[in-house]
């Protein structure tokens, strides 16, 4: 009988090869640990921030914060109502301006633009660069063109337009990715039934792209709500004792109010600032919850 060696098969290990026990694989454990560590580091910073802010602002987290207006001389009577309403107005307008514009721009770039033309490629390149421009530059743009040239002045509408321009690249890029991710089989199936391009986009592609678009809007609006620098330049005053009443009224927003209070020397204002930060986070959370709700509804497992 020929042995395996004669036939050219390498000799088998005499020890029987067993399936168990589970072998330790250090690379797996290391990688898992690395990922967990990264997550924890991020969480630690976030949690520290939250805990600090809530603890610091706790004494002033009461009805006065949203019922009263600001007061320089009497901190115990100061509130952030003007800033809260100002933020809500500005953010509402910003969302109204930048979301439709960004989504429609993304639809055009993905579905209609001829990608081989040089100017479309130039637009694509520049759009991504725009997201990196410092926000203060947008403030200068807003002041020079929108406030002065267009004559809209230091008003809520100017702030909304400027912030919309600031976050537009984020909306467009996220929406484009979402639209691109819709399988082309859906598009083909729709067109093959005699649907027009617009019907296909409106009835099939957009609904399928909503989760990605919602994520993009969360990112965009989260950025916009915290912007103080461009709005300072645009004339959001810090001492405002009234709520906005029209698109052209003066205003203030929470980031600026917070900035102003922090700069005060008196301790009570520091506490107020921390409390106002909590309010800002709460508004942000509320806004994002709406977007997450929309995203989840459209992500329903079909």
């Amino acid at each position: 009988m020929t042995s395996p060696a004669e036939v050219g098969i390498p000799p088998r290990d005499e020890r029987a090869v067993r399936l168990g026990p589970t072998r330790r694989r250090p690379a797996e454990v290391l990688f898992h640990g690395l990922l967990l560590t990264s997550l924890i580091i991020g969480l630690i910073f976030l949690v520290t921030l939250l805990v600090y802010v809530v603890a610091r602002g706790w004494p002033r987290l009461d009805a006065r914060l949203w019922e009263n207006f600001n007061s320089i001389r009497r901190p115990e009577r100061a509130g952030a109502q003007a800033a809260i309403f100002g933020t809500i107005w500005v953010m509402g307008l910003t969302a109204l301006l930048c979301l439709p514009t960004g989504i429609l721009a993304a639809i055009y770039m993905e579905e209609y633009a001829d990608k081989t033309k040089w100017w479309n490629r130039a637009i694509e390149l520049n759009l991504q660069n725009l997201a990196a421009v410092p926000s203060i530059v947008y403030g200068i743009l807003g002041l020079g063109i929108i406030a002065r040239q267009f004559g809209l002045g230091t008003s809520i509408i100017t702030a909304a337009i400027t912030l919309s321009l600031l976050v537009l690249p984020v909306v467009v890029v996220a929406s484009r990715e979402a639209i691109r991710a819709v399988p082309s089989t859906i598009r083909d199936g729709s067109l093959a039934l005699g649907a027009t391009k617009w019907q296909t986009i409106w009835k099939q592609i957009l609904p399928a792209a909503i989760p990605g678009i919602a994520t993009g809007s969360i990112l965009a609006l989260s950025r916009a709500i915290g912007e103080a620098a461009p709005l300072l330049l645009l004339g959001a005053v810090t001492f405002v004792a009234f709520n906005p009443d029209s698109l052209t009224s003066a205003y203030t927003v929470l980031p600026i109010q917070i900035y102003d209070w922090i700069r005060q020397s008196r301790e009570e204002f520091q506490v107020l600032a921390a409390a106002a930060i909590v309010i800002l986070l709460a508004i942000l959370l509320l806004m994002n919850s709406v977007a997450i709700y929309i995203r989840n509804r459209y992500q329903k497992r079909w």
Binding site: D188, A192, L193
Partner: protein
């Protein structure tokens, strides 16, 4: 490439005996019904690349025309010309002519939306929309603003696709929750809901198991009573089973080593599979290549 007429029925030659070839249902194949598509010297370019050329064939009404051949010979490309889906590919253009009844399909005034409503397509991998079964079938009628009771239209389409009994109690459930064969029949229902004249099928059973395939082949026989069908298939036996006329394509490699597809032979299925005129056809169907 000349078409044979009805007076030369298939002989039980050695080639056809090895395939499951049913003569009895092929009466309609020999009827020369009116031409729906007349294809003359059709060639398709993607940019500068000539994908397929010199295609001449006639698709007749209420018949099943099959296009067979090895991979990369241009069958699907030609199929997509019939409903102008190639327009969606940048750089795609056609030379030659496709006559749809008395109109030039690629004429300057042709409304591609109307073309696609009249000439429907079922794709290789079932692609139901991420919507309910009802909304899948109702989509076509809705976007084309077809008048009539939508419930009735949906039911009629699902009956026509042999799917109604299986899904009538779950019309609101997701189209994606069906099995592969059911999804493909849903896609067929979707296509016939807009009452097309022609149904193009691009390897419709390629992703399905044999039982689902058999169901769809039976369905094709029924559909051919009301629609004109053109099917691209890799499966020769399928072409022999269901089709009335068959076009055989092949791929040729030119001096630069580039592949181009071309039509080799177009004839009654019975003739192609029993006594084809071209040796390449004979080689293909006897399995010597491809």
């Amino acid at each position: 490439m000349a078409e044979q007429t009805a007076d030369t029925p298939a002989e039980g030659g050695g080639l056809s005996r090895s395939l499951d070839y049913r003569e009895s249902s092929r009466d309609r194949a020999t009827r020369d019904t009116e031409a729906v598509f007349s294809v003359k010297d059709l060639g398709v370019y993607y940019g500068d690349y000539l994908a397929v050329r010199d295609t001449n064939l006639t698709v007749r009404r209420y018949q099943i025309t099959a296009m067979i051949g090895p991979s990369g010979c241009g069958k699907s490309t030609i199929l997509r010309c019939f409903n102008r889906m190639n327009d969606l590919i940048p750089g795609a253009r056609v030379t030659g002519k496709i006559q749809y009844h008395d109109e030039d399909l690629y004429g300057p005034d042709i409304d591609t939306i109307e073309v696609r409503r009249r000439i429907g397509m079922v794709f290789q991998k079932p692609n139901p929309f991420p919507k309910s079964i009802y909304d899948n079938v109702a989509y076509g009628p809705r976007v084309n603003k077809i008048k009539g009771n939508l419930d009735d239209i949906v039911e009629e389409a699902l009956v026509g696709a042999a799917l109604w009994d299986e899904v009538k109690d779950q019309l609101k459930s997701s189209g994606l929750a069906l099995s592969g064969g059911q999804q493909q029949r849903l896609c067929i229902a979707r296509t016939i809901a807009v009452k097309p004249e022609v149904i193009l099928m691009d390897e419709p059973c390629a992703a399905l198991d044999p039982i689902a395939t058999a169901k769809i082949e039976d369905l094709m026989g029924e559909l051919a009573e009301r629609y004109t069908i053109v099917i691209v298939t890799h499966n020769m036996q399928q072409a022999a089973r269901v089709s009335d006329r068959t076009a055989f394509f092949t791929a040729e490699v030119d001096e630069q080593g580039v592949r181009h597809g071309r039509l080799v032979e177009f004839d009654l299925t019975s003739t192609i599979f029993s006594k084809p005129s071209d040796k390449r056809t004979e080689d293909y169907i006897t399995g010597r290549f491809g």
